[in-house]
């Protein structure tokens, strides 16, 4: 498995001891609860609180407890008001302003997540236990939309790799697919003509790259619904549509999973969808991007290979023709 090391960790970023103790305790609880749910047997009263889907750990506070991380870009951050008002989330309407208006109808608790396919044991997990499995890091990432605009967003989560290791995929598993929730009652603006539920996926070595973030919050707050609450993926070296929102299932497989936009228009949206200034979208160039900031006329800046994360991820694709596998 390709697992490139990131830059050296600064001492300030080492997890404090207290946090570690708390998190390892949470980890034990998480593992226990997962085991119970997965086996579907042995209801240990100790974990009833965790298993009860009505438990609302973050109901009374929208703020998240986060620790700093080494993965931060220093560019000016996009104002929170903009990052939470401009979303491609077609389940809540095809206009980018629609999800902020409409997504409040999605109920993000209780929320269970299935882990199935090529795993040692299929699991059903409560999102709050997943959230508590590892300390939540704040990571400032570039976010590049396939539509040639970009943002800089502080996301809150932990490496997807940690969660995947926990899922215990079989050695034969080569891909992980993310299935987004589909609930017609809570998605009254669901448009016609799309094969929902939304599906995305990564090759397992991509998903195991520490940059791939299992995300629960942004700007230090619990994710707003329009940004993919309660649990989503952020892979910052790829176009935004790769990042499944409101995930209800992680499916491990040995075949490249079908993904929604690739199904809709394979010539426009590749499975890999790595940010690549040299591969144009058929309808526009990907060489530049409009960086969303607070200005009425934001600057257009050059797009970087792998969205500026080439050092961390380019090695994954050694020997691959990225113009063909775009």
């Amino acid at each position: 498995m390709l697992f490139r090391k990131g830059p050296d960790i600064r001492s300030s970023e080492i997890t404090p001891e207290g946090a570690f103790q708390k998190h390892s305790q949470d980890r034990r609880q998480f593992l226990a609860s997962a085991a119970v749910l997965g086996a579907g047997a042995l209801a240990a009263t100790r974990f009833v609180g965790m298993l009860n889907p009505a438990t609302k750990v973050f109901a009374d506070t929208q703020k998240l407890q986060t620790i700093p991380s080494q993965y931060n870009v220093t560019e000016t951050q996009t104002p929170e008001a903009k990052a939470t008002a401009y979303n491609n989330y077609y389940e809540f309407g095809t206009d980018k302003s629609a999800p902020a208006r409409n997504a409040h109808t999605l109920q993000t608790r209780p929320w269970t997540v299935q882990v199935d396919g090529m795993v040692a044991k299929p699991l059903t997990l409560d999102v709050d236990s997943i959230m508590k499995y590892r300390p939540i890091e704040s990571r400032v990432y570039r976010h590049r939309c396939v539509e040639a605009w970009s943002m800089v967003i502080p996301w809150d989560g932990y490496s997807l790799a940690e969660f995947i290791k926990f899922c215990n995929p079989l050695p034969s598993a080569k891909y992980v697919q993310f299935i987004t929730d589909l609930n017609k009652k809570q998605m009254p603006d669901l448009p016609f003509g799309f094969s929902f539920p939304y599906s995305e996926g990564l090759r397992l070595d991509e998903a195991m790259n520490p940059l791939a973030l299992l995300t629960f919050g942004c700007y230090g707050n619990v994710l707003p619904n329009q940004n993919g609450a309660p649990i989503r993926v952020v892979s910052p070296w790829k176009y935004g549509f790769k990042n499944g929102k409101a995930i209800v299932k992680f499916h491990f497989t040995d075949k490249q999973p079908h993904t929604l936009w690739n199904d809709m228009a394979p010539d426009e949206y590749g499975f890999y969808a790595n940010v690549n200034p040299t591969v144009d979208h058929p309808r526009w160039s990907q060489a530049h991007e409009r960086r969303i900031d607070s200005s009425p006329f934001p600057k257009t800046i050059p797009t970087l290979p792998f969205n500026g994360y080439a050092d961390q991820v380019a090695g994954i694709y050694n020997g691959m023709n990225l113009k063909r596998f775009f």
Partner: protein
């Protein structure tokens, strides 16, 4: 209808057609444009939408006028509404050239203000390869640009003096291409959006209804002419 009423009505139609533009300026002035998530995208869609809507409004005038003889005066507004369609289409094109392309307005402006007029041109030359690439490669840009060129020709030949100089028949033939421009504009919209996105549907339906109305009128006229011939 008296001349006075027509003048008043014309002033009113001018205000109506200018309202979207004034509103856009207002949004810029009071700072709310900068608060929008993606102002450039907003301006692009706003000017594109209004170019199409004013063009369709212009195309509505003739069929509505034909409904009743008393509506004949509407013809006096057709040219101005058409010119507003050209106005919004030009704003739309300028948005692409000056904002979407990445043209560095602050640098160009600073250059011009310090007396270096050539800075505006230098900046344009920097983004021109990108635009040329778009025009060469992307069909939605091609049809959109073609629509604008047609509107430019129609606007340039809109003064009565030019119409007289061209001769009514020639002028009429040229100005029938307004349907082509509208059709190209709607195609530009469809080819721009992602597959599955239905936002161009409304303008498409309106355009189709308008085209059907014209075909219906044309067929009726033929039938009438044949009847008259038979009688």
């Amino acid at each position: 209808m008296s001349k006075r009423v027509i003048i008043l009505l014309k002033a009113f139609v001018h205000l109506l057609c200018l309202a979207p533009f004034v509103w856009l300026l207002h949004l810029y002035q009071n700072g709310s444009l900068g608060l929008l998530p993606d102002p450039v995208n907003f301006i692009t869609h706003f000017t594109g939408d209004w170019a199409l809507w004013t063009l369709l409004a212009c195309l509505t005038i003739t069929p509505v006028r034909r409904l009743h003889t008393s509506l004949g005066f509407l013809i006096r507004f057709r040219r101005m509404v058409g010119l507003y369609a050209f106005f919004y289409a030009t704003l739309h094109l300028l948005t692409y050239v000056l904002l979407f392309s990445g043209y560095d307005i602050p640098t160009a402006l600073a250059g011009v203000q310090s007396g270096h007029l050539s800075e505006a041109w230098t900046q344009f030359k920097l983004v021109w390869p990108r635009m040329w690439d778009d025009i060469r490669k992307r069909r939605f840009i091609q049809v959109g640009f073609a629509a604008w060129v047609i509107l430019l020709l129609l606007a340039a030949t809109s003064p009565s003096a030019i119409m007289r100089a061209m001769g009514g028949k020639n002028w009429q033939r040229l100005h029938w291409s307004v349907y082509l421009a509208a059709w190209l504009g709607v195609t530009h919209f469809w080819w721009m959006v992602k597959p599955g996105v239905m936002s161009p549907l409304r303008v498409t339906i309106v355009l189709d209804v308008l085209l059907l109305a014209r075909m219906g009128y044309w067929v009726m006229k033929k039938i009438k002419a044949r009847r008259n011939l038979a009688a």
